[in-house]
Every structure is written in structure tokens, then in C-alpha cells.
């Protein structure tokens, strides 16, 4: 070996190995914590999780209480949140990335979006109460709740969609434009399909957050006791996290079991949504390499 280098391979390898083990340890630590939590929830809630639980309205008798109205309330609100937030968020991202010229206005909008992503959710609840419930007279409806949640997750969707769109190489845009396509045709035909996996990841993260949020909905006055399934956007509603919170805050032990069953239901819905997203993402990613 050359005299000029004290390369000290053994020591460098020790460091490399140490770092590798630290990273692996951190990974397994979080998996472990998640596993313990899941175990506790399932152990407590599995026994009362049955068809009767899923298909009953809340009750003051624990053995008759179920999650039906909250489950359907969540399905309705998440549907409307997706309906509002995906088009608005993706269109905003396309505008900022594909059309807007760099300048003060764009920087101002970007700064605002970044800041809005960090605003506490309770503030959005107050905003929803003021604007949608009172000022627009939507009442404590599914629609008002969905609009409030849309405001909450919109910054997250915009930021994720922008990142995904920015990751599409410019050579693809040049190729389309040089063939005489318009900006819109290039964005729709090539940029969006290529950015779809990234956009979907952002959308799913954002919708998952919306499913779990409780504070803004309670703030805007979603009810905790609803004994019917919402029939449309104008109806009163409750959601699963509100129902779970309500059960968990009662003194009787039987209700805590119900809360655990509710959490399992909520997690299952989340898992189902994620699975759908993974499938779509996998399909659109198959042929993509550059």
C-alpha cells in the first residue's frame, strides 16, 4: 500500500457498519412501537367487532351501540373531501409548475401554501365554523365539514403534486411541445400520467389525515350523537374519530372496548384506501423509467 495514504480501511468499515446498524435499529424501533399499539387495540376491540357493531347506531347501552352512523359519515365526508380537494389541488399544482411565470406573485402564493400546511387544524375548524356554517348557512352538514377538511388538506396535496410534477424531466415536455402540442396537451398527455404515482401518494397521505382529524369537525359543530345515516350533503353527520373520542371519554369500561373496535374499523378503512392507491400507483409505474 502507498505510503502517502493512511487509509485505515478497518476503522472506516467499523463506522460504516455502525451507521448501518443504527439506521436498521431506528426502523425496527418504529415498527415495534406500531406493533405494540396494534396488539393492544386488537386485543381489546376484536371481541366486540362484529356485524352488529358495524350495523348499529350509537346507544347509551354499550351492548347495543355501534358505529354505523360514524362509518357512513366518514365515507360521505371523505368522498366530498376527495371531490373538492383533488381537482383544486392538482389544478393549482399544474398552474404553479406549468404555467405561472416566476415572480413575486408566484413566490407569495408559494410562501402562503407552505405556511398554510403548518397551521394547527383547530384554526381551520374555526374558519369552517365562521365561513361555511354561519356565513354560507350550510349548517353543521356533511358539506360544511368536507369543505373545512378540504381547506385543511389542500396545502398538503398542492405541495405533493408540485413535487411530483417537478420531477417529470423537461425533455418530455420539450418532446411534446416540439411536435406542436399545446401546453395543456403536454400536461394532460405526458406530465400528469408520469406524475400520477407521486400525486397519488400525496393525495392518500392527505386523505388519511382528513379521516383521522377530529378537532376541526368538533370545532365546527359536527354532532357526537347521530342516530341516522346521512342521506346527502346537507345532512348532519358524525365521523369515526369523533365517535371513538366520545366512547373513549366515557367512564364505563364497555365503551372503551367499543372505542378499540372503532379504531380497528377506522384503520381498516385507511388500509383499504392505501391499498387502492398502491395498486393504481403500481399500474402507472410499470413502464416508467428515464
Amino acid at each position: 500500500m502507498s505510503e502517502l495514504f493512511a487509509s485505515n480501511v478497518a476503522r472506516r468499515k467499523r463506522h460504516a457498519n455502525l451507521f448501518r446498524w443504527i439506521c436498521a435499529g431506528m426502523t425496527w424501533l418504529s415498527v415495534l412501537v406500531l406493533g405494540i399499539m396494534l396488539y393492544h387495540i386488537v386485543a381489546q376491540g376484536w371481541s366486540s367487532l362484529d356485524w352488529r357493531f358495524l350495523n348499529s347506531f350509537p346507544s347509551r347501552f354499550p351492548n347495543q351501540a355501534g358505529i354505523k352512523s360514524a362509518l357512513w359519515g366518514t365515507v360521505w365526508t371523505i368522498g366530498f373531501i376527495a371531490l373538492f380537494s383533488i381537482p383544486i389541488g392538482v389544478a393549482t399544482a399544474i398552474h404553479l409548475e406549468e404555467y405561472a411565470k416566476p415572480g413575486r406573485l408566484r413566490s407569495f402564493i408559494e410562501l402562503n401554501i407552505a405556511n398554510l400546511a403548518g397551521v394547527p387544524s383547530i384554526v381551520y375548524g374555526m374558519l369552517g365554523l365562521t365561513i361555511f356554517v354561519r356565513w354560507m348557512h350550510l349548517g353543521r352538514s356533511v358539506l360544511a365539514g368536507a369543505l373545512t377538511m378540504t381547506l385543511l388538506i389542500l396545502p398538503v396535496i398542492i405541495i405533493a403534486a408540485r413535487e411530483a410534477i417537478r420531477a417529470v424531466p423537461d425533455s418530455l415536455r420539450s418532446a411534446g411541445l416540439a411536435l406542436g402540442a399545446t401546453r395543456w396537451q403536454v400536461a394532460w398527455g405526458h406530465v400528469l400520467p408520469s406524475a400520477l404515482p407521486g400525486i397519488l401518494t400525496g393525495v392518500i397521505l392527505a386523505l388519511s389525515r382528513a379521516i383521522g382529524e377530529t378537532a376541526p369537525l368538533i370545532m365546527m359543530g359536527a354532532l357526537t350523537y347521530v342516530a341516522f345515516v346521512p342521506g346527502g350533503p346537507g345532512d348532519y353527520f358524525t365521523t369515526m374519530p369523533i365517535q371513538i373520542f366520545n366512547w373513549a371519554s366515557r367512564p364505563q369500561h364497555e365503551f372503551h372496548t367499543l372505542a378499540a373496535s372503532g379504531i380497528i374499523t377506522l384503520l381498516s378503512v385507511l388500509l383499504a384506501m392505501n391499498t387502492i392507491a398502491v395498486i393504481i400507483r403500481h399500474r402507472s409505474q410499470r413502464s416508467r423509467t428515464w
Binding site: 424531466p169 425533455s171 418532446a175 411541445l177 416540439a178 406542436g180 402540442a181 398527455g189 413502464s287 416508467r288
Partner: protein, 266 residues
């Protein structure tokens, strides 16, 4: 000096060359404060291959991209002077770059097929422009013309990303000629390819010459001398010489050209 040179050649052109399809008059293009090409006047003859050569950073690509207004996409670029296509200023009011780019196609340095099927790569743009004939037939003809048909005819529905670099570049050429352009702009189309693929594309250029006017930017002097009829030599943003390729490479009029083509700099 350049302007005078340009006019000299324009005068010569009347006798010896076919009519110019593209022309520039005193074109200067800048990126913000830095000037990329300075006061260039030249006439590109129809149905010939014109090569643009010069050292790195001399403005070859900038000049090429000005002919189909691809420079518009870079916000800081501005230009003075006129760029004419069939005698009409392409920056005049009412000229739509979308329509212009249908007639002036482009092939890029790095093969950039769409991450879609081979067939879709060729038919996407003609379909957008409302091509009236059979798209399938158009795709076959275009792929035949770039000698790719036999290699891909059994896997037209597979992704274009699975092709080799040389095949991808030929697909990009097929994609461009499927639009039936007048002019084909090529920005170092072989620089990312191996010698075998390069020679296939050079053969292809001869085939295409009968139907299209080709403008090719190249780093490779042998390539310019092999394939082109006319050669433009640019240095530091200015046009040093524009003449018949044989003359540029055997008895150039300028010392700088001689030094460059002999490989003494650049």
C-alpha cells in the same frame, strides 16, 4: 464582417443554391444579460442538409432552437432581428408556435421517447392534430422510413423505454417525421449513441434529404463533413463562415475555420 459574409453568400446562393426555406436577418439572442448569438444572417437552402458546427458554448443549439421557437420556453431569452420561414417572420403577430412546430420538427440530443407504447409515440401528435388518414398506416410508414419497422413491428404495444438508445433515437425521428414537417431540426442527435447506431442515423439522413430540409447541430466534424451539403461555422456566438461543406473542410475562407476543422482548437 459577419453580415457582409452573409450577404456574399446570399448573392452566391442565387446562382448555385435552391431557394432558402429558413433565413435569419441580423439575429441576436441573449439569455438575460449574456449574448448567446450575435448578429447572424444566413439562408438555409431547401432539401439539403446544413450542419451547424463550432466549439462548445458557441450558440449552435440556441440558433437551432430559434427556428421552431423552442427558445420561447426559457423565460429569460429575448432576441432581435428576424427569423424567416418561407419569407415570413416567425415571431410576427399571429404566428402560432404550435402550428409552426408542426411544420418544423425537432430531434433532441438525448433520445426522449414518451414513456408510452412504441405505436403511441408515433401516433400521439398526428392524432392531436387531427390526422385524417389511418394512424396505423402512418405509424408503419414512419417506422419503415427510419428502418425501425422490422425491429419493432411485433411489439408495437410495448413501452418505448424498453428499446436501445439507438432505436429510441430512430423512434424519435419517426415521431417527428410522422407529422410530415417541412424541416427537421436535429440537435446533436448522435452524441448519446454508439458508433453503429450513429452510422445508421447518418444513413437515414441521406434517405430523409429527399423529402425534408435538415438542419443538424453536431460536435463531430467527421459527421458534418460526411452528411452535410452546407456547413455553418459558429464561434463565440458569431458566424465565422457559411459555405458548401466541401469548401469549409478543404479550403476554408477564414483562418479560424481552418484551425477548428483541423482540430487545432475547440
Amino acid at each position: 464582417m459577419v453580415d457582409i459574409l452573409g450577404r456574399q453568400h446570399a448573392a452566391e446562393a442565387r446562382g448555385t443554391r435552391s431557394a432558402p426555406i429558413l433565413a435569419t436577418r441580423g439575429v441576436t439572442i441573449s439569455y438575460g444579460d449574456s449574448t448567446a448569438i450575435r448578429d447572424i444572417t444566413l439562408e438555409i437552402p431547401e432539401q439539403k442538409i446544413t450542419a451547424i458546427i463550432g466549439p462548445s458554448g458557441c450558440g449552435k443549439s440556441t440558433l437551432l432552437r430559434s427556428f421552431n421557437r423552442m427558445n420561447d420556453l426559457i423565460p429569460s431569452v429575448h432576441h432581435t432581428g428576424e427569423i424567416l420561414y418561407h419569407g415570413q417572420d416567425i415571431y410576427a403577430r399571429g404566428v402560432d408556435p404550435v402550428e409552426l412546430r408542426r411544420q418544423i420538427g425537432m430531434v433532441f440530443q438525448k433520445p426522449n421517447p414518451f414513456p408510452k407504447s412504441i405505436l403511441k409515440n408515433v401516433t400521439w401528435a398526428p392524432a392531436l392534430h387531427g390526422y385524417r388518414g389511418s394512424l396505423m398506416q402512418l405509424a408503419e410508414e414512419s417506422l419503415q422510413r427510419v428502418a425501425l419497422w422490422d425491429e419493432v413491428k411485433d411489439r408495437l404495444s410495448q413501452s418505448a423505454m424498453g428499446l436501445s438508445g439507438g432505436q429510441q433515437q430512430r423512434l424519435c425521428i419517426a415521431r417527428a417525421i410522422a407529422m410530415q414537417p417541412d424541416v427537421l431540426l436535429m440537435d446533436e442527435p448522435c452524441s448519446a449513441l454508439d458508433p453503429v447506431s450513429t452510422s445508421r442515423i447518418e444513413d437515414l439522413l441521406f434517405e430523409l434529404k429527399s423529402r425534408f430540409t435538415i438542419l443538424i447541430v453536431t460536435h463531430n466534424m467527421q459527421q458534418a463533413s460526411r452528411v452535410s451539403d452546407y456547413t455553418v461555422f459558429l464561434d463565440r456566438g458569431s458566424m465565422v463562415e457559411f459555405d458548401v461543406t466541401d469548401k469549409i473542410f478543404t479550403q476554408p475562407g477564414e483562418q479560424r475555420t481552418a484551425d477548428y476543422v483541423m482540430g487545432r482548437f475547440g
